[in-house]
Symmetry: C3
Subunit: 278 residues, 3 copies
């Protein structure tokens, strides 16, 4: 059974997602449909790219991911299907797919330009229903990706959020996503390192020196200083600000049992600095 | 596999929809359940009718659609199942089903008055769970619609939004729905006409002259004038107001990459006029 | 086909629920997934417990319910699976499962302490994805509950909301939940009694005298008095305050076609008194 996931900014109120699912199930009745998100902020391509990047790795091989944050619908922007050795990603060529694809090799990229695989008539405002949903459904029922359109060799890639390390060793990044709990996800990717209190930054620019992210680091954000990186929320008292390795693999700033975005009046783009003790 | 869709004003927070799905799957374990919307505004029968009308045509033949926007639950209002040659619609007899049924002939209408097909006990406040969900599930497992209750010959129909054409040729309508993007859906239904810049209004009252809706038309709404109808959002600059044929087949007023409802402080019912150049 | 339900405070925006579903379907591809709620208020263990208690009884025997409202994630709080003769409940040991289990006997309680059934690596902030989803999926594909960890003999139970009856016969309770319509669910559980206008209070403390809840009772809440308990919303005029037996089996205060929480500026915890006529 093929899984088809959906990530959109369509919201839950208007029936747009329901129409997409009706189209898919009409073409491939047995598909398993899974919602990743329909509450990406309207027109927020970066937000959709982040959500797709964090959720898609948890799906089985062969899953088809549709992502439609598509402010350019009806323009000349291309509709794409991109196959990796592990999954297929379908959506507009505006970068929404690109973070999920950033570490993938061996891409087959297809411009979905064959009207035989669109709904007829096609609207100029809702290609989620009229182009992307049918493409996913045809793939799920066994149509080869190259049947759906013209193979091309490029797609638009959003710049990856990468921290910058200055001459004094301070790491500079920013808030790239704020979740439902008000947790502030930064652009610093970390993974556990050798010691219990050491993390390794994994997304420094190529050629930058390795940075170990110890529990002794200090995080400066919006005029507040956080001393050290903790393991879990419960390492601080309720209501206190903290920093930890979030579930997405990014450094996150949070308030235990609270909302860091509210507490700090933070928005995406807020600068974050990591300073090591002298 | 039968598809059962759900359209309600129950929201996503309280578990009401989950209880309905539990009931359905208990009766017909193999059903495919699809949410159309659970965020219809509370008690907004017209909003539910619009969402059901726009999404339901995209589902395969044989689909069962449940729609529960039901402020009269527990009163004498009837519970109905309505079968068309293509689908079945289940919900309270308050008009919520009627727009989806407006162009359907050969209706079988059944008053769901047979307690054997209700949950026992039945509440007086939640017939979505206790009456409508079981009715859909029994249909899906093969029970004939006439088994579920008494065949009747009428249902309550909401007036269809129809534009009016005055003696000067000006078309009068209103905003009938506002979507998550702040797009203003008007009561004017249009479809592509003969020329590239011509649409045909398809829901004028019977006997009215045919109106072609050219790109030269001017739309007046809430003190703003829009010159011409465009093909897609990208035909204007970001932040500009525009009018186009929306994905539901209705004339819509939108702001490119923005929110027309906020920009115009528009609400459902706001008057819209279409004026042809002299 | 096993049904797995999900109740969380993860919201619909961030893809957290999608990741959980990806994990589940990767382990047990055929599972039927049903959302009960993902909009429990952030960190609101009691709200989650109430939603799970009200929705879970409507699912078929054998259903697996995951409930993740988990402010203590990453701390020493235990992860549990609890099997009853009818269903299995999985979640953190903070009380979120306890109201659904309150009337169940013959519980098998397992501490999910076997890393072989967790994701690897495991995060310290998202056990919904890394511990609870895999546990449910392994159960669904046939692993015995005792395989998943150590059998224990206790779990944390939230106090059940119980009304108190004072010497004058007045019943004291409070608002324990507010739903999407602004209906105020009280801690008084009632069921239909012998007469048409009589209900029986079913959750008085052990040993308390039986209280019949007649339509002659008066309900005092936030300075307003409601005369009598009605059968359905339609027994009063639109906009009027009323009390009735809600679909969850609790006494509810509502406004017909309106929002009682807004009208009374009510919050959870607001006191409610029921007074019998002299």
């Amino acid at each position: 059974v093929t899984i088809i996931t959906l990530t959109t900014d369509f919201g839950a109120a208007d029936g747009y997602v329901g129409a997409m699912k009706g189209v898919i199930l009409g073409i491939t009745p047995g598909a398993t449909l899974v919602d990743i998100s329909h509450d990406v902020a309207a027109h927020d391509v970066r937000g959709g790219a982040f959500v797709l990047k964090t959720a898609s790795p948890y799906f089985a091989a062969g899953t088809i991911h549709i992502a439609v944050i598509d402010p350019g619908v009806g323009s000349e922007r291309r509709a794409l299907a991109v196959q990796t050795p592990r999954a297929t990603f379908i959506g507009p060529d505006n970068g929404v797919l690109s973070w999920a694809l950033a570490r993938e090799d061996g891409l087959t990229i297809v411009h979905l330009d064959r009207p035989a695989y669109w709904l007829d008539p096609i609207s100029s405002t809702f290609h989620g229903r009229d182009v992307f949903a049918p493409a996913a459904a045809h793939l799920a029922r066994g149509v080869g990706i190259a049947e759906l359109g013209t193979v091309v060799d490029d797609l638009i890639r959003l710049p990856l959020p990468r921290p910058r390390c200055d001459e004094s060793g301070t790491l500079h990044s920013e808030v790239i996503y704020i979740d439902r709990f008000g947790n502030l996800v930064t652009g610093i990717e970390i993974e556990p390192g050798d010691g219990p209190a050491v993390c390794r930054v994994t997304n420094l620019p190529d050629g930058a020196p390795v940075v170990n992210f110890s529990s002794l680091a200090r995080i400066d954000i919006l005029g507040r200083r956080i001393e050290g990186v903790v393991h879990s929320y419960s390492d601080v008292n309720p209501g206190e600000l903290l920093a930890l390795a979030g579930s997405s693999g990014h450094l996150e700033v949070a308030v235990r049992n609270g909302n860091a975005a509210s507490a700090l009046e933070a928005q995406a783009g807020a600068p974050v600095r990591v300073i090591w003790p002298a």
